[in-house]
């Protein structure tokens, strides 16, 4: 990534002065956010800093009280996650958003089911299970999630890490403009985390920018082009991993250190 070019480019996804209040809690306090084409942007911050609320606000899961969201420079008003998804933004939410009693294939195609070609699909709305299962299996294999034997297994019979793998595979398979991952490796084992990091870089090399929320500093510093540091409901600053140490990042994030002039938001 050529970081010098960034400031000349228009952000692909942008939040301006976003505000979201839950009763007396201000989860987002006039927060700005920019994601540039082709980059991996990490978002870090303490628990409760408002990271998840931020990505929900730009992905249609939460409607901000104030501020605006722009996609490719144009203001958008997402009314639901489906709405954002139809604009090419695919999100893995922290709580994963899976239906436990339904199968892996059902979950991967939730809200974008494929219908059988021909008469049965057209007039009787019949699902093309074979095709959905084939694609789901293929996507999971891409992610090295071979431990899943049966694509028709109910999601509730998967381990926490396997569920996370399925959620990430789903987003990677369908995201066309932006992919947002809220702590995608939190429940994953060492090998599986590595797979997800590889997948993230893979997706970026396809030209799709990624927002990665994570508490794992080595992972963040390994893959991120820029790091958005979130504190008390807003962006404190954006740093580049090559200019700062992990200790700097943690100190900024926790408030032990104030950002210097040039990187301040």
């Amino acid at each position: 990534m050529d970081q010098k070019g960034v400031s000349l480019m228009e952000p692909i996804l942008q939040g301006k002065k976003l505000v979201k209040r839950y009763g007396r809690v201000t989860a987002l306090d006039h927060c700005d956010f920019e994601l540039y084409p082709g980059e991996i942007l990490a978002v870090i911050g303490d628990n409760g800093a408002g990271k998840s609320t931020l990505i929900k606000a730009v992905s249609g899961a939460v409607i901000p009280d104030e501020g605006e969201v722009r996609l490719e420079g144009k203001q958008v008003h997402f009314s639901s996650p489906l709405d954002a998804r139809e604009h090419g933004i695919e999100t893995v939410y922290q709580q994963l958003a899976m239906s436990p009693a339904l199968s892996i294939a059902d979950n991967m195609f939730m809200g974008r089911e494929l219908r059988k070609p021909g008469f049965m699909g057209k007039y009787f709305f019949q699902l093309d299970r074979k095709e959905m299962e084939r694609i789901a299996r293929e996507k999971l294999n891409d992610l090295g999630l071979m431990t899943i034997q049966n694509i028709n297994q109910a999601v509730e019979t998967l381990s926490g890490g396997q569920r996370q793998g399925v959620a990430v595979a789903r987003a990677a398979a369908f995201g066309s403009k932006v992919i947002i991952l809220d702590e995608p490796t939190a429940a994953l084992g060492v090998k599986e985390s590595r797979k997800v990091l590889e997948l993230i870089q893979d997706v970026r090399s396809r030209g799709i920018p990624i927002v990665l929320i994570s508490h794992n500093m080595p992972h963040v510093f390994e893959v991120a082009d820029r790091i958005h540091i979130h504190r008390l409901g807003k962006r404190l600053c954006v740093i580049k991993p090559q200019d700062h140490t992990m200790n700097d990042a943690v100190a900024l994030m926790t408030g032990a250190k104030e950002p210097d002039f040039e990187s301040a938001a």
Partner: protein, 356 residues
């Protein structure tokens, strides 16, 4: 990935030599575990087994009087209305809701069909369409209150139950339309009371409607996107919304469809009792919920199959007729049905453990 990934941390490299074979879970031999698993996959199996066993039981106890095409199809006729309202109730319960107004919608719709024909002199066919539309509208109102206003389904339908029932009495002025008048002037209202015979077996059109309806709904739930969404909403509505299901639309469609099916049940009801009476179908609510629960649909939503509800309705029908033919006090029927309900919920809990 073409670029070399910048030095993965050391502890990770230890995993590079790891075996690529997949984690296989041993099926340590539990026969019970396997049963549990099978039932988890096929939720209609338990009620089917209970149904078959109870038919065998009464066949042995009572003999050929019970185990005859005539008696067995009589059971079908007697459960037709319960079976249809249970299908409506199943849809709602699959979304983790409940519809206490099914009986009220059924009766009110049948009264509308009758009164529009006899009070306003409309052709029976038009009145029937109006009655079906009215049932759908009542269900739609439930759906809007549940999904848009976000009120709990139990409370909403407890309220609309009273409202629809009261409206039913007020509108009909407690007046019954006699069977003879209907047969003479508006036979279409009694359409589902017609029957045909195959050998000793007697099938009313109402029974056929019930079977076709259950088949169509089973297909829609299993084979269409809408069906998958119904289950997803019942399973975890928030997750469904986040993964791209339009949960409000799904809920409204389910309650409205439930209303339409109840109105159909109202039409069948006219065929069954011959007359149009605002006081009929008093037990429809509780009977529908009983059938659904015995049929293995989880009251927590998202689990079960609509075919199970049909089996549930049939089980109740088999016990009712069987015990009556055996000459026992009818209270035994209620006692046994009570036991079946508790048993069904216990089995449901046990099956759910498969996932924990």
């Amino acid at each position: 990935m073409s670029e070399t990934s910048p030095k993965p941390n050391d502890y990770e490299s230890a995993a590079t030599g790891a075996s690529a074979t997949v984690a296989e879970f041993e099926h340590h031999g539990g026969f019970l575990t396997r049963i549990q698993h099978t039932l988890h996959q096929n939720p209609a199996l338990v009620p089917l087994i209970v149904l078959v066993l109870s038919v065998i039981l009464f066949a042995v106890l009572i003999g050929s009087n019970f185990f005859s095409p005539f008696a067995l199809t009589l059971i079908l006729q007697q459960v037709a209305i319960v079976g249809i309202t249970a299908a409506a109730q199943s849809l709602v319960i699959l979304t983790a809701g409940i519809d206490l107004s099914v009986g009220a919608i059924m009766v009110f719709s049948s009264v509308i069909m009758g009164q529009f024909t006899f009070r306003y002199g409309l052709p029976a066919e038009i009145s029937i369409i109006i009655g079906l539309a009215a049932g759908t509208l009542m269900g739609f109102i439930n759906g809007v209150l549940v999904s848009v206003m976000r009120l709990p389904p139990f409370i909403v339908t407890l309220g609309t139950w009273q409202i629809f029932l009261a409206a039913n009495y007020l509108y009909s002025a407690n007046e019954t339309i006699r069977a003879q008048d209907i047969a003479e002037q508006a036979a279409a209202l009694q359409f589902f009371g017609n029957s045909f015979k195959i050998g000793g077996a007697v099938f009313t059109y109402g029974v056929v409607l019930m079977l076709v309806l259950v088949a169509v709904l089973a297909y829609a739930l299993k084979q269409t996107a809408w069906g998958r969404h119904v289950y997803a909403v019942g399973d975890d509505a928030e997750a469904a919304e986040l993964s791209g299901v339009q949960t409000k639309k799904v809920l409204i469609s389910v309650y409205a469809l439930s209303g339409l099916i109840c109105a159909l049940a109202g039409w069948v009801l006219i065929g069954r009792i011959g007359s149009v009476s605002p006081t009929s179908g008093q037990l429809a609510n509780i009977e529908a919920i009983t059938a659904v629960v015995i049929g293995g649909i989880s009251l927590f939503g998202g689990r079960g199959s609509i075919v199970g509800s049909l089996f549930g309705a049939l089980i109740v029908g088999v016990f009712s007729l069987g015990l009556r033919m055996a000459g026992t006090d009818p209270q035994w029927t209620y006692l046994l049905i009570g036991l079946l309900i508790i048993g069904a919920v216990a089995v449901d809990q046990w099956i759910r453990k498969v996932s924990v």
